[in-house]
């Protein structure tokens, strides 16, 4: 327990000092939320843009932390030999994974608190019944995106992980319903997007937290499948040393 806490404390200290990661994990979701809620240019399909954007940026926050921040951070740690050195310490892989998961969950909790508070100030009023499925989806989404991030981090050099994670983030941001609803995308793109975890997570979170509470049938199974497959892929392919 002491080793796990020691590891987590360092992870939190380093994360709080990485400005560019804070920008990705908090700055961009906040910007999207505030900017597009005030300027109604996106085809959100809701009366007030914030009603669509607030749950969508909650999904975005999960993706940016679990996939981008975790993937890039771990990728560089592997490239720098940090994982190599930890591998010969008594920390052990289990506690290392535990500390990483905790770091992601703590970051996400902070993101959600800030984003929800901001959205409420902007007039968002979600049904309280939607929170349980939304949180469940966030956990599955965390597993899915952390799996993708760690698969990249565990197989590619740090810089390649940086580039790929950011590229994937951008593509999934645009095709995952996080700023533009899937229905507004061309049919073929939307069909492909539904196979990926970003659209599935957004659908469950936005659907659950909408007034109607309807979630399309494809979303939960897609999200669940990714939550199993991506971490499995990471566990099977992860190399601790370059």
């Amino acid at each position: 327990m002491r080793a796990y806490l020691g590891q987590l404390r360092l992870e939190l200290a380093l994360a709080s000092r990485q400005g560019e990661q804070l920008l990705v994990s908090l700055g961009i979701p906040l910007l999207v939320l505030v900017f597009f809620s005030g300027i109604d240019v996106l085809p959100t399909g809701t009366e007030e843009p914030v009603d669509y954007l607030a749950p969508a940026v909650l999904a975005l926050a999960v993706m940016s932390t679990a996939m981008v921040s975790l993937g890039i951070g771990t990728g560089f740690e592997r490239t720098y030999g940090v994982l190599k050195r930890l591998g010969a310490s008594p920390l052990g892989r289990g506690r290392w994974v535990g500390a990483k998961v905790s770091l992601v969950l703590v970051t996400e909790a902070i993101q959600w608190a800030v984003l929800v508070a901001t959205a409420v100030l902007l007039g968002w009023d979600p049904p309280s019944s939607g929170w349980l499925p939304a949180l469940g989806a966030a956990l599955l989404g965390t597993l899915a995106f952390a799996g993708i991030g760690l698969t990249m981090a565990g197989t590619l050099p740090g810089l390649a992980t940086l580039a790929l994670a950011n590229a994937l983030y951008f593509v999934l941001l645009l095709t995952g319903g996080m700023v533009v609803p899937l229905e507004e995308l061309p049919g073929a793109i939307a069909a492909v997007a539904r196979l990926f975890p970003a659209a599935a997570l957004t659908e469950v979170v936005t659907g659950s937290l909408a007034a109607t509470g309807d979630v399309e049938g494809w979303a939960w199974p897609t999200l669940g499948a990714w939550a199993v497959l991506a971490p499995t892929a990471a566990a099977l392919t992860f190399r601790w040393e370059d």
Binding site: G6, R9, L10, V82, K84, A88, S89
Partner: protein
């Protein structure tokens, strides 16, 4: 020193790195409580040997015991008892020495006090400086502190003074010596002869993945046989002619380094320097007596690095 089980026992170790045989049937023993240096040029197989003992690299064959266990099977059990200083890397660029030592201290049951250890390695006032802003020597000292934090029984130090300035080297060496005084076992790698001579109770000379010689520095320097005369001058001298003049065999050990195989009497010295003076050949270096560790090292590692046979090449 009382007899104990050897801390490390390596028998016929073979380690392959890709297609390259990095370690080729290496055998040696590190007695508990002693400091042993793996000495060899770059690429000799030192790091591959140590990284196998640390549990990083698999072996192709041979048998290895580290504190009584096989490091490729018992890594978890060995981790709390072994301190490791990697040749490079392993530390995030943004991390600060103080927090890094506190992190590693949390992994061990009875760690050193991080602040006290920082002071001992001369980094107390740098405790909040990000790793990337530390000098090369400070980074190495931090790396050594990481190896020491868990009060290990056995230390693996891979090139502990590489890239470190003179004062930093002295500090690191005195820290390594103080480990030995505490009864800890140290296995270090180095290509620095002075370091091996100063720090090690035993030296294992290794090149091309093979052990060339093992022993205490004293044993190694006397193993070359009797006393002789050594000098340095321009490469490619006519050793046959010189030998005829002085009445002893002259060998060019490596280009520019010569050995006269005879007792180094004042008469021999006079004959050799007289011959050089007559030929107007400047003398770079002249030593009489036993081989130094450097001589041993040169002789042993000369093998296929351009050794010069003791014949006339002029």
């Amino acid at each position: 020193m009382q007899e104990r089980e050897p801390a490390v026992e390596v028998r016929d170790l073979v380690v392959d790195r890709g297609d390259v045989r990095a370690v080729d049937h290496v055998s040696f023993v590190v007695p508990a409580g002693t400091t042993t240096a793996l000495l060899g040029p770059n690429g000799a197989g030192k790091t591959s040997t140590v990284e196998h003992l640390e549990g990083y690299l698999p072996r192709a064959s041979g048998s290895v015991s580290v504190l009584g266990s096989d490091p490729s099977r018992a890594r978890r059990e060995l981790a709390p008892r072994v301190g490791i200083m990697l040749q490079q890397g392993g530390i995030q660029t943004a991390v600060r020495p103080g927090e890094l030592l506190r992190q590693y201290a949390s992994f061990f049951a009875d760690p050193e006090d991080p602040a006290e250890l920082l002071e001992r390695v001369g980094l107390l006032e740098r405790s909040r400086t990000p790793y990337r802003r530390l000098s090369g020597g400070e980074q190495q000292r931090l790396s050594l502190a990481l190896a020491l934090i868990g009060r290990p029984e056995l230390l693996f130090l891979d090139e502990p003074t590489a890239g470190v300035d003179l004062q930093g080297r002295d500090l690191i060496r005195s820290l390594v010596r103080s480990q030995a005084e505490r009864g800890r076992t140290v296995l270090l790698t180095t290509h620095d002869l002075a370091e091996a001579e100063q720090l090690a109770d035993r030296v294992v000379i290794i090149d091309h993945g093979r052990v060339l010689a093992t022993g205490t520095p004293g044993e190694l320097t006397s193993a070359g046989g009797g006393e002789d005369l050594r000098f340095g001058a321009a490469a490619g001298l006519d050793t046959a002619a010189l030998g005829d003049t002085v009445g002893a065999e002259v060998v060019e050990v490596t280009p520019g380094h010569y050995r006269v195989d005879a007792a180094p009497s004042p008469e021999l010295v006079a004959a050799v320097t007289g011959w050089l003076a007559a030929a107007r050949i400047p003398l770079n270096d002249l030593r009489a007596g036993r081989e130094s560790l450097e001589d041993v090292f040169r002789r042993l590692t000369a093998g296929d690095r351009g050794a010069v046979p003791g014949t006339d090449r002029r």
